[in-house]
């Protein structure tokens, strides 16, 4: 690994329709050590266009990490996940499902669609910040991913 790799910011795609959660995630990531570029897709359709570099996203970077909410307008999170995991290039990107739902059927569905992990958004702000930091440090710092 060259020193340039450290300088290159981490590209994170946040698929989230709730502006409040977008704001919270942004604030949590600001506190993180690693430099990151946060891209936000407010629904599943935009997320897929971003990932497949369609329309105005022709020059979009390939994300290093995807944070995915489940219940989204238009194309929902489960469909986005399915599309990612079917694509040979995209399926290597770790997908963290970050959602309010605690429903068993959601958890089961998401893992059977090969999500990398499922996290329920914590109620307390401190816990939320901790979780976002933990995601970042685990997936971007600890885990060895293919280039």
């Amino acid at each position: 690994m060259s020193s340039a790799d450290f300088v290159k910011p981490i590209e994170i795609l946040l698929v989230e329709d709730n502006p409040g959660d977008v704001q919270l995630t942004k604030e949590a990531l600001e506190d993180c050590k690693m430099i990151n570029n946060l891209h936000v897709a407010e629904n599943g359709e935009v997320a897929l266009q971003f990932l497949f570099k369609e329309n105005e996203f022709a020059n979009a970077p390939k994300p290093d990490l995807i944070l995915l909410d489940l219940n989204l307008p238009k194309v929902d999170g489960r469909e986005v996940l399915e599309a990612i995991k079917k694509d040979d290039t995209l399926k290597k990107i770790p997908v963290v499902v970050l959602t309010t739902s605690k429903a068993d059927e959601d958890i089961l569905k998401v893992y059977s669609l090969h999500a990398n992990c499922y996290i329920t958004k914590p109620m307390s702000i401190d816990r939320f910040f901790e979780v976002v930091k933990a995601i970042e440090s685990f997936w971007m710092g600890i885990v060895v991913l293919p280039h």
Binding site: N18, G20, D21, N71, T100, A103, K121, M123, S124, I125
Partner: protein, 500 residues
Amino acid sequence: MSAIHTHQVLDMVGSIEDLQMSLLNNIEDVIYVATPDKYELVYVNEAFKNIWGHNVVGKKCYKVLQNRDEPCTYCTNHIIFDSNHCGVHVWEHQNEITQRWFKCTDKVITLKNGDKVRFELASEITQLKATELQLKKSKEEYHMLFHAMSDGFSYHEVVYDKKNEPIDYIFRAVNPKFEKFTGLKKEDIINKRASECIPKYGDRVPTFIEKYGLIGRDGGETNFEFYFKPYKTWFNVSVFRPQQDFFCLLLDDITEKKTAEKKIIQTLADLKVSNQELEQFAYVASHDLQEPLRMVSSFTNLLQKKYNDVIDDKGKMYINYAVDGALRMQSLINDLLDFSRVSTRGKEFQECDCNLILGKAIANLKHSIEENTAIITNDELPLIKGDEIQLMRVFQNLISNGIKFKGNIPPAIHIGCQRKDKFYEFSISDNGIGINPKFKEKIFIIFQRLNTREEYPGTGIGLAICKRIINRHKGKIWVESELEQGSTFYFTLPVLKKEN
């Protein structure tokens, strides 16, 4: 062999009169002769004497034969002595003394002196009569059954072609219900072929004619349900063979049963929809209602965090209330969800040991029991049929309430059980603060609390869930308590069927 001459025969039996006498006395039939005016017996044979006694000559025939004091009302003298009447009169009669039936042949005979007397020869037919009566009775029964039975019944003879293949059938008998069910009139169809009576079948042999015909020919039986459109009626049709080349058809109107079945299926479908809606509600509660709440709590929190310097103590207190409210709302939603899942997520009932269930509940409360130095004792508990996880929750909720609402002394809780007829009555008694009896109904209502949150935390869902679980198990739950006297919670569960 030479011919026997008359005089030789007379030598053998003495005289013709002796022979006649001997014959009269040796036949099994009863014979008597009586005068028509005085009704006096003039002659009776041995068979008569054997039934009505000896020394009867000279006595009144009605007295001897029927033990009457006057001539019989049914006496046939007026018939046989009628000048227009000639020959014999034959009738049947049941004797009033012996109850035996006789076939009587009455006629008038003229004695040597010219007197006309009544002659009767009576052959016993008691046995025959009994058989006849039996037959009549069973015929009546059959007739009644045939006419009054709620099933439509028809009796048919099979018609074959030259190759002995059934091609048609003839109506031989139908009952009124059959006419009513099919709309066919008896007089239009009896002794006619089905193909004539039911014109729409025309030349072709419908499969059912073949089917019935084969039963008539080869035996066996069939049973099926059939919807008759013109009458909007469902029939259960049974076909069987009473004898070779015949078959019977029984039609049972099962429309009501079918309608009920349909209704049940519809109700089940409705229930499924309503359960799905409930599940939908549960999902909405767990997800959509939580999200805005999380926003409220997160941003008030963030406000406190990032603007701590500019917010004064009063402002911080406001924020605390807002955060606390949001957290409580979240608990309420989770509890409501829990409450709704008693019915939607309940497991199928299985036989389970309440001792093991109680053991698990106590194990779950280990920390709280130790912390409060609580003493838990129990009776031997029975086997019951139920949802183990839910019943464990009931024990756990009730025991933890006993600990939570403790008095000044360490909690002592006893779990008892008594059989009461078809139910087991479980009891969980504590030595805690007790409940004012006027609230004993209210405590089972969802989110009802008797104490402030500061004194005793909790949303007030526990007993409501217990009640819902026990109701699901077809039992009852109630409490007996006095303030500061401890409480005893009771609930019932049905005993196992095999122990009933």
